[in-house]
């Protein structure tokens, strides 16, 4: 007969405290979300008169959603999603192409200035993007990109230390014997990169793509600084403007807008959790 070690009262207490803290934290996370969801189905009057955390009278009241998706005035929010998708697409493609090339060169070749280059990317971590807008804006104006989505594409595809680290880590694990074998077979460095290394980087690329897309979709600061015109704006700016006009729009409608915005993220998150955790861990723990 199998014997299990008894759960002592001391251990039980500890377990209760542990689970208790987890539950409390979970409530702290879920309660605001619940209020938002509940609020999005309430009518404006209902919203004002009931507690935020009370469930709506009618779970199928999609009025607020209709107002957000098909507004009487102003720009349809489809624009914002389109802009965001376009920016994400372009930026991620550029980042993957040039990020992998950069990692390849940094890992496989020795050349003067290599350490300096690596050091520069590392040092950039200390320069938060929030501090440079005064001058970055000037540069963007000079390039004719100011206040447009292309400014965001340029910035989002640029030197991201986390992505580069992920690529470099991964390339490190690709044995140089692969390169050697290909060289003996007659391949040029270009061929080695495009036919061998790049396909072998697929998992890293997937991680980077997911991480970057999440980051771009959620980012507020960069669009706020460099592309706040409504026609060029991203989902973040659209929502920001939306929530600023509480005078004419009920909070309930804003709740609906919020749900619309976070729905794709939540769906994506549940399917792609693993990648996100892996990316954050490798990008930071080993950095």
């Amino acid at each position: 007969m199998a014997r299990r070690r008894k759960l002592t009262p001391g251990k039980l207490l500890v377990r209760i405290i542990q689970y208790g803290s987890l539950v409390i934290a979970s409530i702290a996370v879920l309660l605001p979300l619940w209020s938002t969801i509940a609020g999005s189905f309430k009518t404006p009057v209902e919203y004002i008169n009931t507690s935020h955390s009370a469930p709506p009278a009618n779970w199928l009241n999609f009025d607020n959603y209709r107002q957000v998706l098909f507004p009487q005035t102003g720009l349809p929010i489809g624009w914002a999603f389109f802009n965001t998708a376009m920016i994400m697409g372009c930026a991620v493609v550029l980042l993957v192409i040039f990020g992998t090339m950069l990692a390849f060169v940094l890992n496989r070749f020795r050349f003067p200035g290599r350490r300096l280059l690596l050091g520069t990317y590392a040092a950039l971590v200390a320069v938060p993007s929030i501090l440079t807008p005064v001058s970055t804006f000037q540069v963007l104006q000079f390039l004719g990109l100011a206040n447009s989505r292309w400014a965001l594409v340029a910035l989002y595809s640029g030197a991201d230390i986390v992505s580069i680290l992920i690529f470099i880590q991964f390339i490190r694990n690709i044995s140089t014997e692969i390169d050697d074998s290909a060289r003996i077979e007659g391949a040029s460095y270009f061929q080695i990169f495009f036919r061998l290394i790049l396909p072998m980087l697929a998992p890293a690329i997937a991680t980077v793509v997911i991480l970057r897309c999440v980051y771009i979709y959620n980012d507020f600061v960069l669009p706020f600084l460099y592309a706040s015109r409504p026609s060029e704006s991203t989902v973040s700016i659209m929502l920001y403007n939306f929530t600023g006009i509480t005078n004419t729009i009920s909070q309930a409608v804003i709740m609906a807008a919020v749900i619309i915005v976070i729905l794709p993220t939540l769906v994506g998150f549940f399917f792609l959790q693993r990648f996100i955790y892996a990316g954050i861990t490798s990008g930071s723990v080993k950095g």
Partner: protein
């Protein structure tokens, strides 16, 4: 083409675009920022910008009333960050025990981090509003009609609310990072300790903590820098009004709203120097305690 030439071609070809991007969008702006901080540039017209030397900096340091507020606010956020790291470690350790339901809890606690910034701010804000859920609890305890204006920007305690919002948003990140570090600790060490009779508390301090010390230190360093440059949370929840203004918010306002780019640049440079100083300090401490800090460990 000789192998040497081929190598050079590949290096140049592959590095060209990243270099251009790095210089144009990262390096040059920093240099130009430093330059602008010595002028009275208004952000639009270069022609009328004049060199004013260190005037922007001296102005900045003498207007100490305006400087104090953001710095004090940074302390709120830093305190919040410390709480955040401690909580994250606590939860990470619990989740690492692989109790039933761990996966679910980890997912839940991480959700705020993957939400859109603006959305997250709105979600959290409506809990703190006058008729929000938090005040529902307050009324439950203190009686109907008692409502605390958690987000009143004219009061400094509203910074607690904002710091709490920051913790709510970013706890998941620290959790995942610390959890990842915990997972890397080989189970054998714990087994050996158990055989020798160590209890949970001892295991934690003698095995777990030393192994994740570096990661925790890194998070601490990041939070120091983060507290100085905090922008998003206050901007999104209270629009940086009143007592909730931060250094970064003021800088943006000075530069873009008040059209005093030179002063704003000076503020930015001041901030950069502060961050740099703190960065060096943390590196020095790290070296003493033999903990590799992020950024110095990239030698490939």
């Amino acid at each position: 083409m000789s192998p040497e030439q081929q190598r050079m071609t590949v290096i140049v070809a592959f590095l060209f675009v990243p270099m251009v991007s790095l210089i144009l969008l990262n390096i040059y702006p920093v240099l130009q920022l430093i330059y602008i901080s010595f002028t009275d540039f208004n952000g639009i017209n270069w022609m009328r910008a004049r060199f004013v030397g260190l005037r922007n900096f001296s102005d900045l340091l003498t207007r100490d009333s305006e400087l104090m507020l953001p710095i004090v606010n940074s302390l709120y956020y830093f305190a919040g960050s410390c709480v955040q790291i401690v909580l994250a470690t606590w939860f990470a350790v619990i989740l690492n025990m692989k109790l039933p339901g761990s996966r679910l809890f980890r997912t839940i606690l991480f959700i705020p981090f993957v939400l859109n910034s603006v959305a997250a701010a709105v979600v959290f804000r409506q809990v703190l509003q006058l008729d929000g859920t938090l005040n529902d609890f307050v009324q439950l305890i203190f009686g109907h009609g008692v409502k605390v204006p958690w987000l009143d920007a004219r009061q400094s305690y509203s910074n607690f609310s904002l710091a709490a919002a920051s913790v709510w948003r970013y706890l998941g990140f620290n959790l995942v990072v610390t959890f990842g570090a915990l997972q890397a600790i080989p189970q054998d060490q714990y087994d050996a300790a158990r055989i020798e009779g160590a209890n949970d508390w001892q295991s934690f301090w003698r095995i777990t903590f030393p192994s994740i010390r570096n990661v925790l230190f890194l998070q601490l360093a990041l939070s120091v820098v983060g507290s100085l440059e905090v922008f998003e949370v206050p901007q999104l929840i209270t629009y940086g009004q009143g007592k909730t203004s931060t250094f970064a918010i003021q800088m943006i306002q000075t530069g873009f709203q008040f059209r005093r780019a030179g002063e704003a640049a000076a503020m930015a440079v001041f901030m950069l120097l502060l961050v740099l100083a703190l960065y060096l300090v943390t590196q020095a401490i790290a070296r003493r305690g033999n903990a590799p800090v992020g950024g110095g460990g990239l030698g490939a």
